[in-house]
């Protein structure tokens, strides 16, 4: 894989992760338990969609085939998306959504910190901007994890269950393939083994504060990098893409 191909594929993956989690969080708009949390969640969703736009518009330039950011978001089929499976998981209850966001963002923050130092200038710029947003998200969802985990007996058992249920999607975050390897080699990209070590340390600190038990080592799901998604993904993109599929080129 040459340098340019690795860059395009890597940028698209970043865009896919951001868009899909942004879409999931958008589904929660009007569902928050309080007005204040509602605003927080909507901000998070918009931050992600903003990041997806930056990655996709850069990918469109790199590809040079006249596709736009909208084409990447709305006119690709499910198996062309390369997001990790964790971000497409159902919103579930409040604790599920918090755990999903926490597990992903504790990884994504480290990934962006490393990308801000990589040798692909546009990626580094986008990452430097995005990491500030994600650090704030992580502060917020970490607090929720502690409040729920160290809260009542019911909140503790429910959020522990959420953690157990989502755990099998965490292995994929660090299971790089040839694109990750090429990006690391050619563009001084993130070293996933180092990220995993940092992630484990940070995770253990928050889990200890939250009085939650780290799930045992187990079989890990995967396949997002190859376009193989969980059964939830078809519904997600059907809703997200409906308008452009039914009314191609519609604008307002």
């Amino acid at each position: 894989m040459d340098k340019q191909e690795a860059l395009l594929k890597y940028v698209l993956r970043l865009g896919d992760n951001a868009l899909v989690l942004g879409q999931k969080l958008s589904e929660l708009v009007t569902q928050a338990p309080e007005l204040e949390e509602e605003l927080a969640n909507a901000n998070f969703a918009l931050d992600y969609i903003g990041q997806a736009r930056l990655f996709y518009s850069y990918a469109a330039e790199l590809e040079g085939k006249g596709r736009s950011e909208d084409d990447f978001a709305f006119l690709r089929d499910g198996n062309e998306f390369r997001n990790v499976l964790l971000v497409e998981q159902p919103n579930g209850h409040f604790g599920d959504a918090i755990v999903r966001q926490f597990l992903f963002e504790s990884f994504y923050a480290l990934q962006l910190e490393a990308l801000a130092r990589c040798s692909a200038p546009r990626v580094a710029e986008i990452a430097a901007r995005a990491v500030k947003e994600i650090h704030y998200h992580l502060r917020h969802v970490s607090q929720w994890l502690v409040l729920l985990g160290d809260g009542t007996d019911e909140s503790h058992s429910r959020v522990q269950r959420s953690l157990d249920d989502h755990w099998r999607f965490t292995g994929e975050l660090f299971a790089g393939d040839e694109v990750d390897e090429a990006f690391e080699r050619e563009w001084d990209g993130p070293r996933l083994a180092e990220l995993e070590q940092d992630w484990n340390e940070k995770l253990d600190t928050v889990l200890a504060d939250a009085t939650l038990t780290r799930p045992a080592a187990q079989w890990m799901d995967g396949g997002g990098r190859r376009g193989r998604h969980t059964e939830h993904f078809g519904y997600l993109i059907a809703e997200m893409q409906f308008l452009q599929r039914a009314y191609p080129g519609a604008r307002w």
Binding site: P33, E34, L35, E36, E37, L39, A40, N43, Y136, R139, H140, Q143, W144, L147
Partner: protein, 95 residues
């Protein structure tokens, strides 16, 4: 309802360095740090601030409106407390 459990916090925002914090409004929150988050999300969405204070509303000691006559009316006729009450003597350049 969650409102019964989440305490109310008063929010004070400093809009620029050098200015003082001003009361912006209030938020409900499940804890002190979360109150800061909510204040940030509700009151500084459009670059309104560089610093936030939050304090539990129940911790604020406020004057009683029923006592406002005793508290504030006596100041109304003390015009000598205003600098404009005094005439500046001739020949004073800096005061």
């Amino acid at each position: 309802m969650a409102d019964e459990n989440w305490p109310l916090y008063e929010v004070f925002i400093r809009s620029r360095s050098g200015l003082s914090h001003r009361h912006a409004g209030s938020v409900h929150a499940a804890g002190d740090q979360m109150a800061l988050d909510h204040a940030r999300d509700v009151y500084t969405r459009r670059n309104e601030g560089v610093s936030i204070w939050v304090v539990r509303s129940s911790e604020i000691v406020a004057s009683d409106p029923a006592e406002s006559a005793a508290f504030f009316d006596p100041a109304a006729d003390k015009i000598y407390r205003h600098p404009t009450f005094y005439e500046i003597p001739d020949g004073v350049e800096n005061l």
